[in-house]
Amino acid sequence: MKILVCIKQVPDMESRFKVNAAGSWYDTSDLAWRLNEYDEYAVEQAVQVKEQLGGAPEITVLCVGPERVKEAIKKALAMGGDKGVHVQDEASFEKDPFEIASVIAEYARSEHFDLILTGMQSQDRGSAQVGVLLAEMLGIPAVTTIVGFTLENGAVTAKRELEGGLKAVVKARLPALFTCQLGLNTPRYPTLPNIMKAKKKELAALAVADLLKVQPLAVTAKMTLPEKKAGGVVLEGEIGELADKLIGILKEKTAVFK
């Protein structure tokens, strides 16, 4: 069995974001980078399948992006992936989901993966498209937003998270693609020995130009900071003072103390 996990490296969302000089993306200097949180669940699910099947499956971890994304691949390898594929692209941020999915499809088509796992979305773009686009391009079933995954006899019973706490239970035969929602499992922390082992695992580099065969269907025209709510009050200062001020506002504006 062959498993592909598609991951992305994203900035820490607690960062203070600035728009770049061209006004076309966020400024990438001074940002801390990490493995996209949703993708951690995808990696963990792949490793759990490998464990369930007695170590037989081979897990390939693929990431499109600049040199620094190797760190995200290495983390996924330290969590239990077998080999990494780095699609080198210094300008991946300018590509739309259709181009990114096409690049991955171009690679995956000849590899015949049985199971493909991705996060349901990235934390920076949040478009929730690449996984489904990839499955459609490969002509395999896609199940999105899963919070439950059980593999049995070549078929996966998955729970899809719907709105309001409702879940839909669906079943798909492999090969199939699943996009992972938070809470699907508990992603493991890479242990030090596994981090050391990951350094020795194969990490292939592919040039994006060799895989990109399409034109973008959408472009980012502009990046801006959101407008702040008009009339919202911002309180800053010493704790005791803040507490007094806030209680004063609540007395005036709400009925909680009446």
């Binding site: 949040g126 199940v143 709105e163 409702l166 800053e236 209680i247």
Partner: protein, 305 residues
């Protein structure tokens, strides 16, 4: 400009989000036709054409069939835009349509400006303007971003639609929401804990503030996923939608899914160390502070009142 709006039914009932697609069409001045896999017994109020596919036949989760049905309607109507909600249904179906149509897909649209679609980025800390380059564009709309100004009216002219498509995913059934310890939808005051509280031991600090204010403890998704707080206390699209008179968000950055669940609150206080946290956009008062210090101070002073 012509828009094909994709309505949503769940378990045979029309979802209110269908009307948000209508409000979007109104806002951009597009002529609209509706499509839904739903039931004759619960039709949307709409003065126009509705292509209705039978929910009994096409199932609640059958993307290849829903895609095939929509492609039929698209061939007939030749819309410029196909509009869905950014929901578990919409974000699942939209990319499938995009591939079939070789169309741009733009996710989670919150506004349209200078002919570009405005979408959030980086957990709503940034806004991105996206310009499609394809003849048809498939968009999904952020929940609550486009409200109707008035009650919709009218009776749609229903046209039945059918299509052949093999489902490659079998729908087994629904699993209902777990019944939990509390019904937050009735609470007048909710004090919610977010990831910013740091560790499970600190939940009690937030809970004591909730008690001091005569309210209930709520939580954001990461806190519930981590098992610190029961799922029944989760506020957001996948938890509960709440409308208290006072909502206090403690250490909650303000992910869109959370904001969608609490935006009907009367008065919103956010306590966060990060002045730029998106929760500040919806807060009436943003207190820039460490909630683990501020909450005990508040409790003490409230008790002394």
């Amino acid at each position: 400009m012509k828009a094909l709006l994709v309505g949503e039914y769940r378990e045979g009932k029309l979802l209110g989000s269908t009307y948000e697609t209508l409000a979007f069409a109104q806002k951009i001045g597009a002529a609209a036709v509706l499509f839904a896999v739903g039931s004759e017994g619960d039709l949307p109020r709409f003065d126009g054409k509705l292509y209705l596919a039978d929910a009994g036949r096409y199932g609640e989760y059958n993307p290849p069939a829903h895609k095939a049905l929509l492609l039929e309607v698209i061939a007939k109507e030749k819309p410029d835009l196909v509009v869905l909600s950014h929901s578990s249904y919409g974000w699942d179906l939209a990319p499938r349509l995009a591939v079939a149509l070789n169309a741009a897909q733009v996710s989670e649209v919150v506004d349209v400006r200078d002919g570009a679609f405005v979408v959030p980025a980086c957990n709503a800390k940034l806004r991105r303007q996206v310009r499609p380059k394809s003849a048809v564009t498939v968009v999904t709309l952020q929940a609550g971003a486009f409200g109707l100004t008035g009650e919709p009216a009218g009776t749609p002219a229903v046209e039945r639609i059918e299509a052949q498509a093999e489902g490659n995913v079998e729908f087994v059934g629904y699993e209902p929401a777990e019944k939990g310890e509390v019904d937050l939808s009735r609470a007048e005051v909710i004090v919610s804990a977010g990831r910013g509280i740091g560790k499970p031991e600190n939940v009690e600090i937030i809970a004591s503030l909730a008690r001091a204010l005569g309210g209930e403890l709520g939580a954001s998704r990461p806190v519930v996923d981590a098992g610190w707080v029961d799922h029944s206390r989760q506020v957001g699209t996948t938890g509960q939608t709440v409308a208290p008179k006072l909502y206090v968000a403690c250490g909650i950055s303000g992910a869109i899914q959370h904001l969608a669940g609490m935006k009907k609150s009367g008065f919103v206080v956010a306590i966060n160390k990060d002045k730029d946290a998106p929760i500040g956009e919806v807060a009436d008062v943003l207190v820039v502070a460490d909630v683990l210090q501020l909450a005990p101070a508040l409790v003490e002073k409230i008790k002394a009142l």
